[in-house]
């Protein structure tokens, strides 16, 4: 009973916060609701025994990405922003498309068949600690994707600097 209650609390807050994020007029309010949303998602990860991912979620998403968004909002004129329309004129199309996609997802959920369970049960992870078990897979089976991820980050750094810097006078 207690796990269901916890899940119900987190599910309701996550959905309410994400609706608040996309409907607030003031972008700063949106970012702050999103901060609260990320903390709730991180607690959901803790609830699923993924404590390393929960820490990463808070450090990277709440600590780095949202601060980046807040910095860019400084470019906006908030006084003008709260007076104009929130939605584009074609918003019913987008809304209908989203609802239709949700219904399709729910219908496809009925034909879901679970795969046979793997070897990492809770006891195995508890004996080996979560971070160590994760690192063992990451640095053996997923070594090549890991290196590719570092290249992706390098491209992002270089690309961000090239895009955002002022053009030099030639």
């Amino acid at each position: 009973m207690l796990p269901e209650l916890f899940f119900a609390y987190f599910a309701v807050t996550v959905i309410v916060f994400s609706i608040l994020v996309i409907t607030r007029r003031n972008p700063v309010h949106s970012v702050l609701w999103m901060l609260l949303l990320f903390f709730h998602i991180a607690s959901l990860y803790l609830f699923l025994n993924a404590e390393f991912i929960a820490a990463i979620q808070i450090i990277v998403y709440a600590g780095a990405i949202l601060v980046l968004y807040l910095f860019v909002i400084l470019f906006l004129n908030i006084k003008e922003e709260v007076k104009t329309n929130r939605f584009i004129s074609a918003w019913p199309t987008g809304f209908t498309f989203g609802i239709a996609l949700f219904i399709i997802f729910i219908l496809s959920l009925r034909s879901f068949i679970a795969a046979p369970p793997g070897i990492y049960s809770i006891d195995v992870i508890k004996a080996e600690t979560h971070t160590k078990a994760l690192a063992k897979i990451l640095y053996t089976d997923f070594l090549f994707p890991f290196e590719v991820a570092s290249v992706v980050l390098l491209v992002a750094i270089v690309g961000a600097i090239v895009l955002a810097k002022r053009r030099l006078k030639s």
Partner: protein, 100 residues
Amino acid sequence: MVPLNWYILLGTAVFTIGIVGFLMRRNVIIVLMSIELMLNGVNINLIAFSHYLQDLRGQILTFFIITVAAAEAAIGLAILIALFRNKATAHVDDIHEMQG
């Protein structure tokens, strides 16, 4: 024990809200934040699968998704700064140079 379907439904709901926000909002910053919402919906699903199928590969995928989300946020916001410099607007319906 919470059933796996509940988590899938929650992740799907967050993903759908992200899609709706992406297609409806005028402000480019909120549009980028909707992309983050969609990635988070996928992350919830992956972690739930990883827990219920007792396989850590789902969490590795989440790891890569967070990496890509950070890269995407940096690039997207840099594009936004270049846009502010050239057009001084943050509304998607004011940017219509390419529709002729």
